[in-house]
Protein backbone atom coordinates (compact mmCIF):
# COMPACT_ATOMS: atom_id res chain seq x y z
CA UNK A 1 0.00 0.00 0.00
CA UNK A 2 1.41 3.33 -0.97
CA UNK A 3 1.19 6.46 1.12
CA UNK A 4 -2.02 8.40 1.12
CA UNK A 5 -2.58 10.23 -2.10
CA UNK A 6 -4.75 13.28 -2.37
CA UNK A 7 -7.79 12.33 -4.32
CA UNK A 8 -8.22 14.97 -6.95
CA UNK A 9 -11.10 13.47 -8.89
CA UNK A 10 -13.64 14.97 -6.54
CA UNK A 11 -15.34 11.68 -5.74
CA UNK A 12 -14.91 11.89 -2.03
CA UNK A 13 -17.62 14.36 -1.14
CA UNK A 14 -20.76 13.31 0.58
CA UNK A 15 -23.66 15.61 0.13
CA UNK A 16 -27.25 15.87 1.04
CA UNK A 17 -29.61 16.32 -1.86
CA UNK A 18 -32.61 18.66 -1.79
CA UNK A 19 -35.03 16.05 -0.47
CA UNK A 20 -32.82 15.26 2.49
CA UNK A 21 -31.65 11.97 1.01
CA UNK A 22 -27.94 11.21 1.29
CA UNK A 23 -25.91 10.67 -1.80
CA UNK A 24 -22.45 9.42 -1.08
CA UNK A 25 -19.71 9.37 -3.67
CA UNK A 26 -17.49 6.49 -2.69
CA UNK A 27 -14.02 6.19 -4.12
CA UNK A 28 -14.29 4.30 -7.37
CA UNK A 29 -12.46 1.29 -8.85
CA UNK A 30 -9.03 2.16 -10.16
CA UNK A 31 -8.35 4.73 -7.44
CA UNK A 32 -5.54 4.09 -5.00
CA UNK A 33 -6.92 3.20 -1.57
CA UNK A 34 -5.90 5.98 0.86
CA UNK A 35 -3.75 4.67 3.67
CA UNK A 36 -4.78 5.27 7.27
CA UNK A 37 -4.03 4.25 10.81
CA UNK A 38 -6.79 3.61 13.33
CA UNK A 39 -7.18 1.97 16.71
CA UNK A 40 -8.29 -1.65 16.65
CA UNK A 41 -8.17 -1.92 20.44
CA UNK A 42 -7.78 0.82 23.05
CA UNK A 43 -3.99 0.38 22.96
CA UNK A 44 -3.34 -0.98 19.47
CA UNK A 45 -3.31 0.75 16.13
CA UNK A 46 -3.68 -0.86 12.72
CA UNK A 47 -2.20 0.61 9.58
CA UNK A 48 -3.89 -0.31 6.30
CA UNK A 49 -0.50 -0.64 4.62
CA UNK A 50 0.27 -3.43 7.09
CA UNK A 51 -1.90 -5.67 4.90
CA UNK A 52 -0.39 -4.70 1.58
CA UNK A 53 0.28 -7.61 -0.73
CA UNK A 54 -3.09 -9.15 0.12
CA UNK A 55 -6.58 -8.26 -0.99
CA UNK A 56 -8.41 -6.23 1.65
CA UNK A 57 -12.15 -6.09 2.26
CA UNK A 58 -13.01 -2.79 3.95
CA UNK A 59 -16.44 -2.90 5.53
CA UNK A 60 -17.75 0.49 6.62
CA UNK A 61 -20.89 0.17 8.72
CA UNK A 62 -22.99 2.63 10.70
CA UNK A 63 -22.74 1.32 14.25
CA UNK A 64 -21.86 -1.57 16.54
CA UNK A 65 -24.90 -3.32 18.02
CA UNK A 66 -27.47 -2.20 15.45
CA UNK A 67 -29.38 -5.25 14.17
CA UNK A 68 -28.46 -5.10 10.48
CA UNK A 69 -24.78 -4.51 11.25
CA UNK A 70 -24.86 -7.52 13.51
CA UNK A 71 -26.25 -9.71 10.77
CA UNK A 72 -23.85 -8.32 8.22
CA UNK A 73 -20.73 -8.79 10.34
CA UNK A 74 -21.97 -12.18 11.56
CA UNK A 75 -22.29 -13.18 7.94
CA UNK A 76 -18.73 -12.11 7.10
CA UNK A 77 -17.50 -13.87 10.22
CA UNK A 78 -19.12 -17.04 8.95
CA UNK A 79 -17.66 -16.65 5.47
CA UNK A 80 -14.09 -16.04 6.70
CA UNK A 81 -12.89 -19.41 5.36
CA UNK A 82 -13.93 -18.27 1.87
CA UNK A 83 -12.18 -14.93 2.30
CA UNK A 84 -9.13 -16.80 3.55
CA UNK A 85 -9.05 -18.86 0.37
CA UNK A 86 -8.29 -15.58 -1.39
CA UNK A 87 -5.84 -14.58 1.38
CA UNK A 88 -8.07 -11.58 1.92
CA UNK A 89 -8.12 -9.54 5.13
CA UNK A 90 -11.54 -8.36 6.30
CA UNK A 91 -11.60 -5.11 8.28
CA UNK A 92 -14.67 -3.48 9.80
CA UNK A 93 -14.78 0.30 10.35
CA UNK A 94 -17.30 2.45 12.17
CA UNK A 95 -17.20 5.63 14.23
CA UNK A 96 -17.63 3.68 17.47
CA UNK A 97 -14.80 3.82 19.98
CA UNK A 98 -12.24 1.05 20.40
CA UNK A 99 -13.81 0.14 23.76
CA UNK A 100 -17.18 -0.28 22.14
CA UNK A 101 -15.65 -2.36 19.33
CA UNK A 102 -13.91 -4.49 21.92
CA UNK A 103 -17.12 -5.36 23.71
CA UNK A 104 -19.00 -5.88 20.46
CA UNK A 105 -16.37 -8.14 18.88
CA UNK A 106 -16.18 -10.26 22.01
CA UNK A 107 -19.92 -10.54 22.30
CA UNK A 108 -20.35 -11.55 18.65
CA UNK A 109 -17.16 -13.66 18.54
CA UNK A 110 -15.91 -11.73 15.53
CA UNK A 111 -12.60 -12.99 14.16
CA UNK A 112 -11.53 -9.89 12.23
CA UNK A 113 -10.48 -6.42 13.40
CA UNK A 114 -12.92 -3.58 13.94
CA UNK A 115 -11.31 -0.17 13.58
CA UNK A 116 -12.44 2.96 15.37
CA UNK A 117 -12.87 5.94 13.03
CA UNK A 118 -13.42 7.89 16.20
CA UNK A 119 -11.04 10.86 16.37
CA UNK A 120 -11.27 12.97 14.32
CA UNK A 121 -14.67 11.41 13.94
CA UNK A 122 -15.29 9.76 10.58
CA UNK A 123 -12.12 11.07 8.98
CA UNK A 124 -11.31 7.84 7.17
CA UNK A 125 -14.91 7.42 6.06
CA UNK A 126 -14.79 10.96 4.64
CA UNK A 127 -11.59 10.14 2.78
CA UNK A 128 -13.33 7.17 1.20
CA UNK A 129 -16.42 9.26 0.45
CA UNK A 130 -18.75 7.30 2.69
CA UNK A 131 -19.48 9.54 5.68
CA UNK A 132 -23.06 10.66 6.34
CA UNK A 133 -22.67 14.21 7.53
CA UNK A 134 -26.08 14.83 9.02
CA UNK A 135 -26.22 11.44 10.69
CA UNK A 136 -22.67 11.31 12.01
CA UNK A 137 -22.11 7.71 10.91
CA UNK A 138 -20.50 5.83 8.02
CA UNK A 139 -22.48 4.55 5.12
CA UNK A 140 -22.89 0.81 4.81
CA UNK A 141 -20.14 0.61 2.23
CA UNK A 142 -17.83 -2.07 0.89
CA UNK A 143 -14.43 -1.65 -0.73
CA UNK A 144 -12.40 -4.52 -2.10
CA UNK A 145 -8.77 -3.45 -2.49
CA UNK A 146 -6.32 -5.45 -4.59
CA UNK A 147 -2.85 -6.52 -3.38
CA UNK A 148 -1.34 -3.42 -5.03
CA UNK A 149 -3.54 -1.12 -2.97
CA UNK A 150 -5.92 -0.16 -5.79
CA UNK A 151 -9.67 -0.19 -5.21
CA UNK A 152 -11.07 -3.00 -7.32
CA UNK A 153 -14.74 -2.70 -6.38
CA UNK A 154 -16.86 -0.45 -4.20
CA UNK A 155 -20.49 -0.55 -3.25
CA UNK A 156 -22.75 1.54 -1.02
CA UNK A 157 -25.83 -0.24 0.26
CA UNK A 158 -28.95 1.51 1.51
CA UNK A 159 -28.34 2.05 5.24
CA UNK A 160 -30.87 -0.52 6.41
CA UNK A 161 -30.03 -3.19 3.84
CA UNK A 162 -27.46 -5.87 4.49
CA UNK A 163 -25.44 -6.05 1.25
CA UNK A 164 -24.52 -9.71 1.70
CA UNK A 165 -21.21 -11.10 0.46
CA UNK A 166 -21.72 -12.12 -3.14
CA UNK A 167 -20.31 -8.86 -4.51
CA UNK A 168 -17.21 -9.21 -2.32
CA UNK A 169 -16.60 -12.79 -3.41
CA UNK A 170 -17.03 -11.88 -7.08
CA UNK A 171 -14.49 -9.09 -6.68
CA UNK A 172 -12.01 -11.36 -4.87
CA UNK A 173 -12.34 -13.95 -7.60
CA UNK A 174 -11.61 -11.33 -10.24
CA UNK A 175 -8.52 -10.22 -8.32
CA UNK A 176 -7.31 -13.79 -7.91
CA UNK A 177 -7.84 -14.44 -11.63
CA UNK A 178 -5.97 -11.26 -12.53
CA UNK A 179 -3.07 -11.60 -10.14
CA UNK A 180 -2.53 -15.27 -9.45
CA UNK A 181 1.02 -14.58 -8.30
CA UNK A 182 -0.31 -12.82 -5.21
CA UNK A 183 -2.20 -15.79 -3.88
Amino acid sequence: MKPKKDNSNGTRTTRRSGNGEHRSRPLQPGVEAPDFELNSTPDQKVDLSHFSGRPIVLVFYPADWSPVCGDQLALYNEILPEFNRHHAQVIGISVDSAWCHNAYAQHRKLHFPLLADFEPKGQVARTYGVYRDGDGVCERALFVIDPDGIIHWSYVSPLGVNPGADGILNALEEITAKEPSHV
Partner: protein, 187 residues
Protein backbone atom coordinates in the same frame (compact mmCIF):
# COMPACT_ATOMS: atom_id res chain seq x y z
CA UNK B 1 -20.76 2.12 -9.12
CA UNK B 2 -20.44 -1.55 -9.75
CA UNK B 3 -20.43 -3.76 -12.78
CA UNK B 4 -21.60 -6.64 -10.63
CA UNK B 5 -25.27 -7.29 -10.65
CA UNK B 6 -26.50 -7.60 -7.11
CA UNK B 7 -27.00 -11.21 -6.20
CA UNK B 8 -30.72 -11.37 -5.95
CA UNK B 9 -31.22 -14.46 -8.08
CA UNK B 10 -31.04 -17.99 -6.83
CA UNK B 11 -27.70 -19.28 -8.10
CA UNK B 12 -28.27 -22.98 -7.39
CA UNK B 13 -31.52 -23.98 -9.12
CA UNK B 14 -34.01 -26.11 -7.24
CA UNK B 15 -33.14 -29.73 -7.88
CA UNK B 16 -35.66 -32.39 -6.97
CA UNK B 17 -32.94 -34.98 -6.56
CA UNK B 18 -30.93 -32.82 -4.16
CA UNK B 19 -33.32 -30.48 -2.40
CA UNK B 20 -35.81 -31.04 0.38
CA UNK B 21 -39.16 -30.04 -1.07
CA UNK B 22 -42.55 -29.88 0.58
CA UNK B 23 -45.69 -29.33 -1.53
CA UNK B 24 -46.87 -30.29 -5.02
CA UNK B 25 -44.23 -30.66 -7.75
CA UNK B 26 -46.41 -28.74 -10.23
CA UNK B 27 -46.93 -25.77 -7.86
CA UNK B 28 -46.90 -22.37 -9.59
CA UNK B 29 -44.79 -20.88 -6.82
CA UNK B 30 -41.55 -22.30 -5.47
CA UNK B 31 -40.47 -20.74 -2.22
CA UNK B 32 -36.87 -21.37 -1.22
CA UNK B 33 -35.92 -20.62 2.36
CA UNK B 34 -32.33 -20.30 3.53
CA UNK B 35 -32.65 -20.89 7.26
CA UNK B 36 -30.94 -21.70 10.52
CA UNK B 37 -32.61 -24.00 13.06
CA UNK B 38 -31.34 -21.92 15.97
CA UNK B 39 -32.40 -18.56 14.54
CA UNK B 40 -35.46 -17.21 16.36
CA UNK B 41 -36.66 -15.34 13.26
CA UNK B 42 -36.60 -18.62 11.33
CA UNK B 43 -38.63 -20.11 14.16
CA UNK B 44 -41.28 -17.44 13.62
CA UNK B 45 -41.09 -17.90 9.86
CA UNK B 46 -41.72 -21.62 10.34
CA UNK B 47 -45.20 -20.81 11.67
CA UNK B 48 -45.87 -18.42 8.80
CA UNK B 49 -44.75 -21.03 6.27
CA UNK B 50 -47.01 -23.66 7.80
CA UNK B 51 -49.94 -21.29 7.33
CA UNK B 52 -48.93 -20.51 3.76
CA UNK B 53 -48.53 -24.16 2.81
CA UNK B 54 -51.98 -24.90 4.22
CA UNK B 55 -53.56 -21.90 2.50
CA UNK B 56 -51.90 -22.48 -0.88
CA UNK B 57 -51.76 -26.25 -0.77
CA UNK B 58 -52.07 -26.54 -4.58
CA UNK B 59 -49.93 -23.58 -5.55
CA UNK B 60 -46.89 -23.39 -3.30
CA UNK B 61 -44.00 -25.71 -2.65
CA UNK B 62 -41.31 -25.00 -0.08
CA UNK B 63 -37.61 -25.81 -0.38
CA UNK B 64 -35.45 -25.61 2.73
CA UNK B 65 -31.70 -24.99 2.50
CA UNK B 66 -29.26 -24.56 5.35
CA UNK B 67 -27.70 -21.27 6.31
CA UNK B 68 -26.36 -21.84 9.83
CA UNK B 69 -24.63 -18.85 11.43
CA UNK B 70 -22.49 -21.02 13.62
CA UNK B 71 -20.52 -18.27 15.33
CA UNK B 72 -23.64 -16.83 16.93
CA UNK B 73 -25.69 -20.04 17.00
CA UNK B 74 -23.48 -22.80 18.37
CA UNK B 75 -26.11 -25.54 17.91
CA UNK B 76 -27.12 -24.59 14.38
CA UNK B 77 -24.64 -26.74 12.51
CA UNK B 78 -25.44 -29.83 14.57
CA UNK B 79 -29.15 -29.27 14.01
CA UNK B 80 -28.66 -28.83 10.27
CA UNK B 81 -26.64 -32.04 10.02
CA UNK B 82 -29.24 -33.87 12.11
CA UNK B 83 -31.96 -32.86 9.66
CA UNK B 84 -29.84 -34.16 6.79
CA UNK B 85 -29.19 -37.42 8.64
CA UNK B 86 -32.95 -37.72 9.13
CA UNK B 87 -33.40 -36.88 5.46
CA UNK B 88 -31.17 -39.81 4.53
CA UNK B 89 -33.79 -41.97 6.23
CA UNK B 90 -36.66 -40.20 4.47
CA UNK B 91 -37.62 -38.06 7.48
CA UNK B 92 -36.15 -34.64 6.71
CA UNK B 93 -39.33 -32.63 7.25
CA UNK B 94 -40.25 -34.47 10.42
CA UNK B 95 -36.86 -33.52 11.90
CA UNK B 96 -37.07 -30.00 10.44
CA UNK B 97 -40.38 -29.48 12.23
CA UNK B 98 -39.14 -31.01 15.49
CA UNK B 99 -36.08 -28.72 15.49
CA UNK B 100 -38.07 -25.56 14.82
CA UNK B 101 -40.62 -26.51 17.43
CA UNK B 102 -37.89 -27.08 20.02
CA UNK B 103 -35.44 -24.31 19.26
CA UNK B 104 -34.49 -23.93 22.89
CA UNK B 105 -33.26 -27.54 23.08
CA UNK B 106 -30.90 -28.35 20.23
CA UNK B 107 -28.24 -30.19 22.24
CA UNK B 108 -27.24 -33.66 21.07
CA UNK B 109 -29.28 -35.47 23.69
CA UNK B 110 -32.46 -33.58 22.83
CA UNK B 111 -31.93 -34.07 19.12
CA UNK B 112 -31.52 -37.80 19.73
CA UNK B 113 -34.92 -37.75 21.45
CA UNK B 114 -36.53 -36.14 18.41
CA UNK B 115 -34.83 -38.71 16.20
CA UNK B 116 -36.27 -41.48 18.36
CA UNK B 117 -39.73 -39.91 18.27
CA UNK B 118 -39.82 -39.72 14.50
CA UNK B 119 -38.73 -43.32 14.25
CA UNK B 120 -35.20 -43.08 12.91
CA UNK B 121 -32.75 -45.94 12.93
CA UNK B 122 -30.76 -44.58 15.86
CA UNK B 123 -27.56 -46.45 15.14
CA UNK B 124 -27.36 -45.09 11.63
CA UNK B 125 -28.38 -41.60 12.78
CA UNK B 126 -25.75 -41.45 15.52
CA UNK B 127 -23.10 -42.82 13.20
CA UNK B 128 -23.87 -40.23 10.48
CA UNK B 129 -23.78 -37.37 12.97
CA UNK B 130 -20.58 -38.51 14.66
CA UNK B 131 -18.81 -38.99 11.31
CA UNK B 132 -19.93 -35.61 10.01
CA UNK B 133 -21.34 -37.24 6.89
CA UNK B 134 -23.47 -34.18 6.10
CA UNK B 135 -21.07 -31.41 7.14
CA UNK B 136 -20.13 -30.76 3.53
CA UNK B 137 -23.71 -30.80 2.30
CA UNK B 138 -24.69 -28.14 4.84
CA UNK B 139 -21.71 -26.01 3.79
CA UNK B 140 -22.72 -26.40 0.15
CA UNK B 141 -26.15 -25.05 0.96
CA UNK B 142 -24.59 -22.19 2.91
CA UNK B 143 -22.24 -21.21 0.11
CA UNK B 144 -24.97 -21.42 -2.51
CA UNK B 145 -26.87 -18.98 -0.32
CA UNK B 146 -23.92 -16.63 -0.04
CA UNK B 147 -23.52 -16.61 -3.82
CA UNK B 148 -27.22 -15.93 -4.23
CA UNK B 149 -27.06 -12.86 -1.99
CA UNK B 150 -28.47 -14.39 1.18
CA UNK B 151 -27.68 -11.76 3.79
CA UNK B 152 -29.22 -13.15 6.95
CA UNK B 153 -31.81 -15.64 8.05
CA UNK B 154 -34.40 -16.33 6.99
CA UNK B 155 -33.94 -15.27 3.36
CA UNK B 156 -36.59 -16.30 0.87
CA UNK B 157 -36.54 -16.67 -2.89
CA UNK B 158 -39.85 -16.70 -4.71
CA UNK B 159 -39.55 -18.41 -8.09
CA UNK B 160 -35.83 -17.77 -8.03
CA UNK B 161 -35.89 -14.06 -7.07
CA UNK B 162 -34.90 -12.86 -3.63
CA UNK B 163 -37.85 -11.60 -1.62
CA UNK B 164 -36.65 -8.43 0.05
CA UNK B 165 -39.83 -7.33 1.81
CA UNK B 166 -41.20 -8.42 5.16
CA UNK B 167 -42.16 -12.06 5.55
CA UNK B 168 -45.18 -11.89 7.83
CA UNK B 169 -48.25 -13.86 6.72
CA UNK B 170 -49.97 -10.94 4.97
CA UNK B 171 -46.85 -9.86 3.06
CA UNK B 172 -45.97 -13.38 1.97
CA UNK B 173 -49.56 -14.07 0.98
CA UNK B 174 -49.55 -10.96 -1.21
CA UNK B 175 -46.17 -11.85 -2.74
CA UNK B 176 -47.35 -15.38 -3.54
CA UNK B 177 -50.72 -14.28 -4.94
CA UNK B 178 -48.98 -11.92 -7.31
CA UNK B 179 -47.09 -14.90 -8.74
CA UNK B 180 -50.04 -17.20 -9.19
CA UNK B 181 -51.46 -16.79 -12.69
CA UNK B 182 -54.76 -14.87 -12.45
CA UNK B 183 -56.75 -17.48 -14.36
CA UNK B 184 -55.36 -20.21 -12.22
CA UNK B 185 -56.04 -18.22 -9.09
CA UNK B 186 -59.71 -17.71 -9.96
CA UNK B 187 -60.49 -21.40 -10.04
Amino acid sequence: MSEHSRGTKLVLPVDEARDHIRGPAEAAVTLVEYGDFQCPHCGQAHLVLNELLARFDQDVRLVFRHFPLTQIHPDAQRAAEASEAAGAQGRFWEMHDALFENQDALDLESIAEYAQEIGLDMIEFARDLAAGVYTERVREDFLSGVRSGVNGTPTFFINGNRHDGPWDLASMTAAIESKIAPAHHQR
